[in-house]
């Protein structure tokens, strides 16, 4: 009933409250994860709205001194609602779309490789040769015009560094990371099996994930386990260290880096993105007070990109204000959800600050 958890696992909870104290949604929404765990233990959780407030940042689970995995309790409650069919209508669409078109936005599966049109060279299908290195686009980057620049940039970088790589194109399906987090385990499994079959068929030995969410799914959720998935920032740092990227010009701006939850907190990749930024000539790297393990969640995870919930001040707004207070000119990040949420916040606040994906900053000096 609780997804991967059994109710018995919850007896160990000592109600210390570390989870709620860590939760970026606590206080601003009615989600109190400690209380939720308690009520689920006693079998009297009934609310159908509150579980959707969780943005799956993972802080509660990472920090729980008793290893209770409160965020999985949320997933479990969601899974229950999914099985009962009672889910918010916007999520309904996202899941139906993912079932039919293999992406939550319901864009045509046949247009999944549309982003390749503007890169200026042919990107081979992974099966065409024994290419082994797979550039996994995933949904946001494949369809969102704002994020399409990320796969294009990475493709250009790989091309310039003469790294042979291929894509799955129309055969690629959503990684399922968020699908699992909204509790649709059956659909997640279906997506996983389809992707894993392709990894197998085309003998993929390395996957470059553009989104930390995809990387997380491949590394931590897929049955095949660690499919040698790396995040693109890891790859970039590798290429820089090997001297395969030649910088031209200088990026004379103050840049503050925002750690995505699924890259940082949940997968411990803190340094590579910073190293890449530090390697860029002229760039002055700044740090948020809440950075690395303490990074403030942008609230884009856990299906919140397709869910509409009532909440207080958006964390994205807080983040942009923090960056302004630091005197940063650019917020750089390495996750499409963070990018969209922070850019949206900057626009709403009319803030004089740019929000950029790391690849975008990098392309300025390549």
């Amino acid at each position: 009933m609780l997804g991967l958890l059994k109710r018995e696992d919850l007896f160990a909870c000592i109600q210390c409250g570390k989870c709620t104290g860590s939760c970026p949604e606590a206080g601003k929404t009615s989600l109190n994860i400690r209380v939720m765990v308690r009520k689920v233990l006693f079998g009297d959780w009934e609310d159908k709205e509150v579980p959707w407030f969780c943005s799956s940042c993972g802080a509660c689970t990472i920090r729980c001194p008793r290893d209770i995995k409160p965020s999985e309790v949320v997933v479990g409650l969601r899974a229950q609602m999914v099985e009962e069919g009672e889910i918010p209508s916007s999520l309904y669409r996202a899941l139906e779309n993912t079932l039919v078109q293999k992406n939550p936005w319901g864009r045509s599966r046949n247009k999944r490789d549309a982003w390749t049109a503007e890169v200026g060279f042919e990107i081979p299908f992974i099966g065409e040769d024994t290419l082994e290195t797979l550039l996994f686009t995933c949904c946001v980057q494949a369809y969102d015009p704002r994020c399409m620049v990320i796969p294009r940039n990475i493709a250009k970088v790989l091309h310039a560094a003469q790294v042979p790589f291929g894509i799955l194109g129309r055969k690629e399906v959503c990684c399922g990371n968020e699908i699992r987090r909204v509790g649709e385990f059956g659909l997640f499994k279906q997506l996983m099996e389809e992707n894993e079959a392709n990894f197998e068929r085309y003998q993929v030995s390395r996957i470059i994930a553009l989104s930390p969410h995809c990387m997380n799914a491949f590394k931590n959720e897929y049955e095949g386990g660690d499919k040698k998935a790396v995040h693109y920032t890891q790859l970039l740092w590798e290429l820089i260290q090997e001297g395969r990227l030649i910088f031209k010009g200088s990026y004379d701006k103050r840049v503050v880096y925002h750690d995505p939850c699924f890259l940082g907190k949940q997968n411990g990749i803190f340094d590579e993105p910073r190293e890449v930024l530090k390697a860029i000539p002229g760039l002055q790297l700044m740090e948020f007070s809440r950075s690395r393990e303490n990074s403030l969640c942008c609230e884009g995870g856990g299906g919140r990109m397709f869910l509409d919930v009532e909440m207080g001040e958006r964390n994205g707004h807080k983040r942009v204000k923090e960056a302004l207070a630091l005197g940063a000119q650019v917020i750089a990040t390495a996750c499409p959800f963070c990018l969209l949420n922070l850019e949206d916040a900057a626009a709403v606040l009319d803030a004089d600050i740019e929000v950029r994906d790391i690849t975008e900053v990098l392309m300025e000096v390549l």
Partner: protein, 430 residues
């Protein structure tokens, strides 16, 4: 009656001191090995004891002096046991005595050397948990036993780089010619009849809980660091301040590194509730108008007079807040502790000047190898295993243990276990 019998006591904290004195008073010859330059251990670092608020050094210093003067105690400071071989009914032990670079026989502890050291006031002082500064030649703390200066080879320019200012100044200053840069480690061998381990504990390093901001914000300190700020022999002479910054509001976070599987320590450290209560009391006493929060999971005031002490704290207006903070960060208002106050089920973002982490107890670092070479069984966390009915015995006949090395204890319990272990030793060797 046991004139010919000899016991090796490892560790010169309150446990080792008490055991050594008991053994020696009982006629046993004691070799007391201490890794640090002075005995005194953790207790001598603290300002006062709970719940009676006795001055720690007032209680402990006389015992330390007694150790140094006792004719049956051979105190080996700066020393480590490197090998133990079972031999007959007893053990042959090899001890490495590390160089002090100051002749213990000659040093009069006048302190002139330290005053002129080129690095004076520039090296973080271990005894003050890095809150105070020393030079390359220094006395660990005013009441140190042995009351002898030493040179830290890691920082001394002469020892490290081969050259210092002409002189070097310390040599010039020392009227008795005690400084010896050529001092070398010495290997000593002893035959002993029994061994008593009292190696004590380290504190959990809160770097391992990055969300609490230790190492990132100077205003986030550990409980032991606070002890040093409170102690009259500390860097501020007992004034609670960080440089010129006088904090007015304090947030104590309990169970940092205790009851926490994420850092491999699901056990309770037993002392943090009470020492935090003590800290809160002293803060209230010394900082006028102090606002004090204590966040906790459970308050474990289990000892004699402990619950009453806890109650006194509440009478002083200390906010006891049930809930473990999720994170500590800084914004324009200062340090912010984000915590759910469970009794109101409300997430509070408490602005505070200082955060004190009640770090849990760990077995002394670097002891695992020694224990395993001896075949001593330890539990999952590295504490020595003992039986409930013989809590002072290890699994090796002739090897005894007392104090925190067998599990978290407060001072009275450590002292009691030391005396028990000493008695058991005596019983064993006769």
């Amino acid at each position: 009656m046991n004139g010919s019998k000899r016991v090796l006591v490892i560790g010169g904290g309150i446990g080792g001191i008490q055991a050594s004195l008991d053994l020696a008073d009982g006629g046993v010859e004691v070799i007391l090995v201490e890794r640090e330059p002075s005995i005194g251990g953790r207790m001598i670092q603290t300002d006062r004891t709970f719940p009676t608020l006795d001055c720690s050094s007032c209680v402990l210093t006389p015992k330390m002096v007694e150790v140094s003067l006792h004719r049956r105690i051979n105190l080996l400071s700066l020393s480590e046991v490197v090998e133990v071989i079972k031999e007959g009914g007893g053990f042959r032990v090899k001890i490495r005595k590390n160089p002090r670079y100051v002749d213990e026989e000659k040093c009069t502890s006048c302190g002139r050397c330290a005053q002129v050291c080129v690095l004076a006031g520039r090296i973080p002082k271990e005894f003050d948990e890095g809150m105070g500064r020393r030079g390359a030649i220094f006395l660990p703390f005013p009441q140190a036993v042995p009351q002898k200066y030493l040179i830290d080879p890691e920082s001394c320019l002469k020892l490290k780089k081969g050259r210092c200012k002409k002189g070097p100044p310390c040599v010039d200053a020392c009227e008795v010619g005690a400084i010896n840069f050529d001092d070398k480690p010495r290997l000593l061998q002893y035959q002993v009849d029994a061994i008593l381990i009292a190696t004590g504990f380290d504190l959990f390093d809160p770097i391992g809980k990055p969300e609490l901001g230790y190492g990132r914000y100077p205003e986030v300190i550990t409980s032991l660091e606070l002890e040093r700020l409170m102690a009259p022999n500390g860097p501020t002479g007992g004034e609670i301040r960080l440089g010129d910054f006088h904090p007015r509001s304090f947030f104590f976070i309990q169970c940092v590194g205790s009851r926490d599987r994420t850092v491999g320590a699901p056990f309770c450290s037993r002392v943090c509730c009470m020492y935090t209560a003590k800290h809160a009391y002293i803060v209230k006493e010394r900082v006028e108008g102090a606002v004090v929060y204590v966040s906790y999971i459970d308050v474990r005031a289990h000892g004699k007079g402990y619950e009453e002490f806890y109650r006194r704290l509440q009478d002083l207006g200390v906010y006891y807040l049930r809930g473990v903070p999720g994170e500590v960060y800084k914004d324009a208002k200062g340090l912010i502790v984000r915590v759910e106050d469970q009794f109101s089920a409300q997430v509070r973002e408490v602005a505070t000047d200082m955060v004190v982490l009640a770090c849990g107890i760990r077995p002394r670092r670097g002891m695992e190898k020694f224990f395993s070479s001896l075949g001593i069984e330890t539990d999952d966390y590295g504490f020595i295993k003992t039986d409930p009915m013989t809590p002072f015995k290890t699994n090796i006949p002739g090897v005894f243990a007392c104090g925190v090395v067998t599990g978290p204890k407060d001072i009275p319990d450590s002292v009691a276990s030391a005396s028990c272990a000493a008695l058991a030793c005596v019983e064993y060797i006769s």
